[in-house]
């Protein structure tokens, strides 16, 4: 095993090109390196594979990754998916939360809003899921995108932020949570499908950030994310005013999420709200049940004998047993 990795060492010394060297020296250096290569490659492979390995090594310019995802399986997955599609099957997709989430900064703090529908393709997987996640007592985060990614990412950052707060002895800041989230998402190069709206109140006042799966962030007074973000943003752009009162701001967020719920298929069900102010936190779930399940008005159960039987005739079918197979069932 160890021998293989030695062959795989990226030959950056060859690539970064010591071109300015004189020919003689270069030749000598090359000879030495060839000898070194020979020694290494003979130890792990036979002659015909030697060239293959050294070629492969020189292709890898970037440094070997330390921690984080290994993307080696992505090529394999793409090939598998292609082959499955050829035969007519489609690989199962991750559950996305086709969502409307938004946040607004008002006079005393921040209000975060979210719908509660989780979709799996064209099916509603969860009619009432919670999309506003806890980060710290004064910071909450709405998540759109892949449900598992938003859930686990916010949990990990919440734990790390608690450790950080204990270590510093201070109330955590929203900017810290933002940094931690964006650095983690960038490390995974967008493969963690988490689009977040992060809001909270700290010693410097109320803050609101939107964080994209690839790791870019925006600090704004009002943000929306998810498939219903355009509908929600339309409402914000029309009615947002700086320094709103709490009730006005709550109504605005409720209307923005409602716009997402009614105009986007990926969003639906109820509206959750989270009001964060300096001293107080209100986690209102549900704030508004915009889509209550109706109650059946009629009943289609009839008593036996409602329909009277006029005639009855029985015809026997002459069937021939062609094939008989017995499937055993494991009842252990």
């Amino acid at each position: 095993m160890i021998k293989n990795t030695q062959c795989y060492r990226p030959r950056t010394d060859l690539l970064l090109g010591k071109k300015k060297k004189k020919k003689k020296k270069a030749k000598k250096a090359k000879k030495k390196k060839k000898k070194a290569k020979k020694k290494k490659s003979t130890s792990c492979t036979s002659g015909k594979h030697k060239a293959h390995f050294t070629k492969m090594a020189t292709l890898a310019v970037r440094q070997s990754p330390v921690g984080g995802f290994s993307f080696e399986n992505c090529k394999r997955n793409a090939v598998l998916e292609g082959e499955a599609n050829k035969v007519g099957y489609s690989l199962p997709a991750a559950r996305k939360t086709g969502t409307t989430i938004c946040g607004v900064v008002f006079k005393d703090g921040v209000i975060l809003g979210a719908d509660t529908r989780a979709t799996e393709g064209m099916i509603v997987a969860d009619k009432n899921c919670s999309k506003i996640h806890y980060i710290s007592p004064n910071i909450y985060c709405c998540g759109a995108g892949t449900a598992a990614d938003t859930e686990m990412t916010t949990q990990i950052i919440s734990s790390n932020l608690e450790l950080h707060a204990l270590s510093t002895g201070r109330v955590p800041r929203v900017a810290t949570a933002n940094r931690m989230l964006k650095q983690m998402l960038f490390r995974y190069q967008g493969y963690i499908g988490a689009a977040l709206v992060l809001g909270g109140v700290d010693c410097n006042g109320p803050h609101l950030y939107s964080i994209y799966p690839h790791g870019s962030t925006d600090k704004l007074p009002y943000v929306t994310m998810g498939s219903g973000s355009l509908a929600a943003m339309a409402v914000f752009e029309d009615r947002y005013k700086p320094d709103m009162e709490e009730e006005d701001a709550k109504r605005l967020v409720r209307d923005a999420i409602a716009a997402g719920i009614f105009n986007d298929l990926g969003s639906g069900s109820n509206i959750d709200l989270c009001v964060i102010t300096k001293g107080k936190l209100d986690y209102i779930r549900p704030h508004d049940e915009a889509n209550k399940k109706g109650v059946r008005t009629g009943d289609y159960k009839y008593k036996r004998g409602t329909t009277s039987v006029l005639t009855k005739s029985v015809t026997a079918l002459n069937l021939e047993v062609v094939e008989e197979t017995v499937l055993t069932m494991d009842t252990s």
Partner: protein, 232 residues
């Protein structure tokens, strides 16, 4: 604080008639501390004597929160304590990430104690020169544990550690009963500290931490002053 560590880490693997005597840690605890478990909470109290008046007492704490509901105090070497505090906090968070539940005090103590035991059986390291008192509250019950450098841990109703722990324990034995409330417990704890305290006890040179259903809290000097006034 003088500390003597006679640890033969590599020799532990060799057979010896009495392995316990190979790793023996002598440390002059220096600072006393004690803890008291009441019916509705736990008190941790410690003296924090600094060698010079020039020390900024508020910059360094002996009573440290580990999670919202668990706190810790020590007797022994400060730097070793810092390492354990960080470890304990990380262990608590790891537990939370897996089980989505605040770590029960007993579980945390088990994990911290096994860290301390690890350092008595590994090569190239010495045992931690601290004895910990860990106080926590879960499921409507107060808990108090002690963890030794050997990695042994015990649950207590009330205990004292450090220089004058013998006197402290006898004092506590006389004064302990199951029905004490938290306020009385704080009062008793401070009185016990006073027994072995040299010099004037002020809010600057003792630290008190309490743990009840609201969680763990280190008392501010102002609050400690109120309790001290009640004694004087």
């Amino acid at each position: 604080m003088d500390t003597f560590c006679t640890v033969y880490c590599y020799a532990v693997s060799r057979s010896s008639p009495d392995i316990c005597s190979l790793t023996r840690i002598y440390y002059d605890a220096g600072c006393d501390d004690l803890s008291f478990s009441a019916s509705n909470g736990v008190v941790l109290a410690t003296e924090k004597k600094q060698k010079s008046i020039l020390y900024d007492e508020q910059s360094v704490h002996k009573v440290e929160p580990i999670t919202k509901h668990i706190g810790m105090v020590y007797s022994g070497m400060g730097p070793d304590y810092r390492v354990l505090v960080r470890r304990a906090r990380k262990l608590a968070q790891q537990y939370f990430l897996v089980y989505q539940e605040p770590i029960p005090t007993g579980q945390l103590v088990q994990r911290v104690a096994s860290v301390m035991q690890e350092y008595t059986q590994s090569g190239g390291v010495r045992p931690f020169g601290v004895s910990l008192l860990i106080a926590g509250w879960d499921e409507d019950q107060p808990y108090l544990f002690q963890s030794d450098p050997s990695g042994a841990y015990f649950a207590w109703k009330a205990t004292a550690m450090g220089k004058n722990y013998v006197n402290g324990k006898t004092f506590l034995e006389k004064r302990y009963n199951n029905d004490l409330e938290l306020e009385d417990a704080i009062h008793t704890a401070i009185l016990t500290l006073k027994e072995s305290f040299e010099g004037q006890m002020t809010e600057e040179n003792i630290e008190v931490g309490i743990c009840n259903e609201a969680g763990f809290k280190r008392l501010t000097p102002a609050e400690v002053k109120d309790y001290l006034a009640a004694i004087a």
